[in-house]
Amino acid sequence: MSNYLAWQSDNFITIFIGLVLLEILILVILSLWKMFHNNETLKYEFITIIAHKYRTPLTQVKWLCENLLNSEKDEYKKESLRNINQSNDKLIKLTNSLIEITDSDRSATASYSFETVHLCDFVRLVAEPYKTLFHEKNIFFSVECVAEDIKVKIDKQRIEFVLQSLLENACTYTSPGKNVRVIVERSFRKGLVSVIDQGIGLSGGDLSRIFTKFFRSDSARRVDTEGFGISLFLSKAIMRRHKGKIQVSSDGPEKGAKFELILKVVK
């Protein structure tokens, strides 16, 4: 009888401890949920501040510059205004990236607007303005469409950002006299866009961290001090939301790099 009572008492203690642990677990989950919810609220507040408080003065500068450029006759002043406008556009782009980064870890694609495009046409269109940029730096630049009829469903604005980031990186980290090639091809049900450069390349360690938020390799920092280390992180997040992929390969430092975008082909 005393053994039975002891066994019952042990069971009671076990159940009691179990219940306490369960209650603690529920409290932890609730506080984590609350924390997550608060983070979401903070995120929206952050977007609100950035969107309105930053973009408004940037818009004022942009519109004032445009107004002045239309009426200014002095070529020297015009050039200065164009420079102000270009710097302002860089800030606008950076602000857009900050908003995108805030939004990047949400798994939902609610803010995405997908439409079907011809991959070759789209890549050519995005690459077109970069021809001048590469030419000015004396880099040989080409866009090759191996297969023409590749249709993909994308958020044009987002994939444009991804492509622009790859092209800007290729231009920044490739020396004059070298090549940068963009190849669009099809592999079974996938559309592939490769950006292949002969630039500074990546070490094994850099390859594993290249898509990490704010990561910049030492060699990248030496070539360009202005980079932020967010464009590839954002590109990965964008590709993930397209159920696609971005991958990189390099034979090592000073041996160039190949960035590859993989998108699902649609009918």
């Binding site: 969107a51 408004t56 818009t59 942009k62 519109w63 107004n67 908003i99």
Partner: protein
């Protein structure tokens, strides 16, 4: 062009400098512009001003935002065929607090477009 023949634009924008810069450009293009600083002011203006096109900012002071104005406008038979433009610094895909079902004819992000692009859109939807 006589005032009566001019196409009428109602623009709801609380930033006075932006209102001045673009407002002058709109007037130069021959439109008659009414600028409202708040949603309430816009609704009051609409009582005796019938615009041919309505442009709204989303983030406005007071108890009415741009979507509230669009909701009022799209349900008013007088403005059934009036084109609308959202001219905001909140991107189309950036959540404005919550998803909103009201849509405008065009959506322009202020920081991404120049005055010439806005005027071109205005002309496309409401040629004068």
């Amino acid at each position: 062009m006589e005032t009566s023949q001019k196409k009428k634009v109602l623009w709801v924008e609380d930033d006075k400098l932006l209102g001045k810069i673009l407002g002058e450009a709109i007037a130069v293009k021959g439109y008659e512009l009414q600028l409202a600083l708040t949603g309430r002011e816009a609704i009051t203006t609409l009582k005796d001003f019938t615009p041919d096109i309505i442009m709204v900012d989303l983030y406005l002071p007071g108890d009415m935002n741009g979507y509230d104005i669009l909701e009022r406008v799209t349900t008013d038979p007088r403005f059934k065929k009036t084109p609308t433009i959202i001219l905001s610094n909140f991107g189309k895909t950036e959540h404005f607090g919550k998803e909103h079902p009201v849509a405008a004819t065009r959506y322009l992000l202020k920081a991404d477009v120049g005055i010439s692009q806005i005027l071109a859109t205005l002309h496309e939807l409401c040629p004068n």
